[in-house]
């Protein structure tokens, strides 16, 4: 085998995606460090405690990513149902065991490590839906029918109902956006999509009109529009987040130098409100780069979806793109006061193991799909290639 042929046969991993993710990981780790280094109440006096823990999370996540990347795509399909079932089991476990642990019902302790199954559930739903469509339509040129849509909704519905019981509104919204995106890209009939959209709106209306939520819960949810609705809780949080971000200006106050961050005014700043650290310390420039990197990841995910030669890859990649896209929007929007306060992490940036692992597993899957799509290319993949080019060859 000559050097030239090996070069030609080198399977393409998506380097732009890889670099964007690594950029987010580096930035995120720095932000977590900055948000926690002075918080003695969290770190117990060791300023690097959270930095080191987050580095461990990143390393484990990268290993998981590489493993998924290197797995044969046929294996991915075989393992997928197991991943789905495991995450359902995790969610059930949270609901049964979670009640016994201090009111916190989204977490379970596994040997001293807290695991948040709802993070993995998003990945599981994406894979499950993609698998269903793929099994029924791979190689056949039939359109997606009512049976497929209902099947996919069932796959999403089981974990979704378990998440409602926790209740974790943020994750539910993200899941909804993901399912909708996956259905749309899978090619579900337009009337079904319209029906789902309408159903979601009616559902929200019923919840509001039927007084299923207590007034304070609605206030808390809507506090981002008017902080006085919940001045000590969510209203306070969004106000402090806005002040911290606004305090950053164009160039920010410098990493480790944000006055609001140092004083610890913003709650949950290393997890849900991590973006405010970027906003205050790195300013419009740094926070803009952060948004751009996230956009880059989603752009590549959508490109991989378009590039994919099989139904599974197309639907899975699109689902992942919608998941990251909506979650990032939800999280940053919350920090900027244009979305309600719900506890969803910022992918690759927030402190935490479960969301890091689930996110990097998804990246691994994207790369796997990309590898498969480019493996059959006659030349080394150098720049984004549209399907149309292939047809032309």
């Amino acid at each position: 085998m000559t050097g030239r042929t090996r070069m030609l046969r080198t399977p393409g991993i998506d380097r732009v995606l890889m670099l964007a993710v690594i950029g987010l990981l580096v930035l995120g780790t720095l932000l977590v460090w900055s948000a926690t280094s002075h918080r003695n109440d969290l770190t117990g006096g060791d300023p690097t405690a959270y930095l080191r823990r987050q580095l461990v999370n990143v390393c484990i996540g990268l290993v998981l990513m590489v493993v998924v990347m290197a797995t044969d795509h046929r294996w991915v399909r075989i393992v997928a149902p197991l991943v789905y079932l495991a995450s359902i089991a995790g969610l059930v476990l949270v609901l049964t065991m979670g009640t016994t642990i201090n009111g916190s019902r989204s977490w379970i302790d596994v040997g001293g490590i807290s695991v948040q199954p709802s993070e993995f559930a998003k990945l599981a739903v994406v894979i499950g839906m993609a698998l269903l469509v793929a099994e029924r339509h791979e190689g056949r040129r039939t359109g997606i029918g009512a049976v497929d849509v209902i099947g996919m909704l069932l796959i999403a519905g089981i974990p979704a109902s378990l998440i409602i019981l926790q209740p974790d509104l943020g994750t539910l919204l993200v899941l909804g956006a993901t399912v909708f995106g996956a259905l749309a890209v899978a090619g579900a009939p337009r009337r079904w999509l319209a029906l789902l959209l309408a159903g979601g709106l009616v559902g929200a209306g019923v919840v509001l009109a039927g007084h299923l939520l207590k007034p304070y819960q609605i206030d808390r949810f809507l506090a981002f529009t008017n902080p006085n609705l919940d001045p000590r809780g969510a209203g306070y949080n969004t106000e402090q987040a806005r002040i911290a971000v606004g305090n950053g200006g164009v160039f920010g106050q410098g990493l480790f130098h944000g006055s609001q961050t140092r004083a610890g005014f913003v709650p949950e700043q290393h997890t849900d409100f991590i973006f405010t650290v970027a906003g205050e310390e790195l300013g419009l420039v740094g926070a803009g780069v952060l948004i751009a990197l996230l956009a880059l990841v989603i752009w590549r995910a959508l490109a991989i979806s378009a590039l994919s030669t099989d139904v599974f890859g197309r639907v899975a990649a699109a689902g992942i793109a919608c998941w990251f896209g909506f979650q990032a929007f939800q999280n940053i929007g919350m920090c900027l006061g244009i979305m309600p306060v719900t506890g969803v992490p910022l992918p690759f940036v927030s402190y935490g193991g479960s969301s890091m692992f689930a996110g990097l597993l998804a990246i691994g899957l994207l790369q796997n799909i990309h590898l498969r799509a480019t493996a059959s290319l006659p030349t080394r993949y150098a720049r984004p290639v549209r399907e149309g080019h292939l047809v032309g060859r």
Binding site: G246, V250, G288, A295, L302, F329
Partner: protein
Amino acid sequence: MNPSTKRDPAAERSRLRLIVVRVLVFSLFATLFARLYYLQVVSGDSYRQAAASQSLREVVVQPQRGLIVDDQGRPLVANRTAWVVSVDRTLLGRLSERDRKILLRRLANAVRTPLKQIKEDLVTCGERGSVRGRCWNGSPYQPVPVATGVRQAEALRILEQPEDYPGVLAQQQSVRAYPRPYGVNLADVIGYLSPITAGELNKARKDHDTSVNGASTVGRAGIEEEYDRYLRGRPGYQKVAVDSMGRVLGNEGEVKGHPGDTLVTSIDARVQSVTEKALHDAITTARATYDPVTHRNYSADSGAAIVLEAKTGRVVAMASQPTYNPGEWVGGISREQLARLYSPQAGDPLLARAYQGQFAPGSTWKPFMTVGAFNNGMGPSTMLDCSSGFQVGNRLFHNYESASYGMISFAQALQVSCDTFFYRVGYYFWQKYGQDPTDVHAHDPLVSEAKAFGFGRPTGIDVPGESAGRIADRAWKLAYWKSMKGYYCGIDKHPPAGTSSYLKLFAHEFCLEGNYYRAGDAVNFVIGQGDTLVTPLQLARAYAALANGGTLYEPRIAKAIVSPSGQVIKRIRPKVQGHVTDPAHAISYVDNALLGTAKVGTMAWKMGGFPLDQIHIRSKTGSAEVYGKQSTSWVASYDDNYVVLMMVTQGGTGSGTSGPFVRRIWEALYGVHGMQVDTRKALIPGVVEPAALPAFQPDGSILPPRPRTTGSQP
């Protein structure tokens, strides 16, 4: 292979929809960026202002101090909540000069505290105009307490009208309370609390000790000081964000504190109560009694009473007079109260006579001299003359306490407390070893024995500030002469006008040979007169050694440290400080002899009708002469379980003043009524203290321990 999308309607639809998704996603991200731009650039100034006007206020949540309980679990010191009004100085600083004045005046009226005092409270220590003891040495971000023990109605008024009191806080805080079971006072055992000093705070900060802060109060004197680090607990910290108007915006995190540990003591409240009452009655009775020597009533200006466990050295009761109310210190003490506590006119009530007072022991000293004599050649067969006087050189020493009995033994001499008998003992040893009055290193078996019984050094009891007492031996005399020589030689050379002839003579002799240890010093020493001083606790501890065969304990008040949840953290056992070597078995001889004091000796007239055949009380009385004052009354007594000692200064004779009240303590200890001994009526169930600790229940209640079933009989 040609996966043409033209012939795959599903794939074609996907492609179109992916474009829609892209548009959607990017419009969302564009929204985010636009919003970011709006927040940081367009309205950045207003947010920067908001950021600058926010501040954090640190609120210290003081921990609840640990309880102090007696052997049965009765709280001796507890806590109650009091309203504390504090002022946030950061916010006060933002008011205009005029508003600040109005606010402080309004506040002074509301909490009924002088305006001047509030102003002094608000000054940081070390700043210009700070008043020591009043100034603030806490954190600059922490509200300064200006009034403690504010009435609820007043505190609520401040809470309800925050607009009238910007920057003023009213909170409930825990302060010391004294439940006083059976009316006990115990001030000199417990001690008191006062605010931490700047020096202590700096030291704590240097040692990274986070259990105190600028607003802490720490233990002063007594077990409150000795066990402060267990009792004080750990404060919690709360960070609160406030806006420029001082309105609390939200909680910024909290470090939880935890309450202090409980201290279990061996004090028994019932015994303490009886002891305090007995001492008080002894003093009032003495004050109503005519002194035939000075021709006026006894002034009985101070006194002490102690009950120790003879076998362990634990303190069961300890009382001093005059005393003070420990509650006076709660919430800050006024200057007038403090002046009274330190004043000699009020009898110096802060001086705990029981372990800080130093007095001539008088005849209570003789048992230890007997042990010393026996261990150095004398014995049960030694017979000496108990004459009415004893000539040493040109001076005649009288037999103060007893009549003349002729030739008697040590046992009889102890029982009737014959001075001339013991003069002969002292003179004998002085002649034998120490005829050269300038020889500092001359052997003195009696001084050695006094040291062996722990005199002249602190007993090591677990309260701070104990006095050491003093053995007036040759070395002491030399040291004293050296320190005072200049003064007296000055008087001798140039006597100031109006110097009495007595003082002139004294100064002359002192200047010449004040360091000489003469036979007169030796004979004074042996009967507990002269310059030798003991604390009542030292004497009680030495009598405990007579009771238990010669073991010298460091007395202990504390028995155990128990965590707030009821776990025993540490047991505190009396330490053995030493053993009295006793080759001649003198201790058992003395023990036997002292049995007779109550039957045929100096205590007999006060012990008539007491069931001595059931409760074998050994006792020794003493009436110590004090130059220029009325004599000190001593009674030291013990049996196998207890040592009971009482002392009244300027109180008359030992048995006459203290005797009846020592008897009363014994009766209460054993449940004696007339000739009947009913141990079920004893003050402590089972007569002696239980070995077990009180049981601390999870609900916070404390149950008494199970009484000891064995050894309850005297």
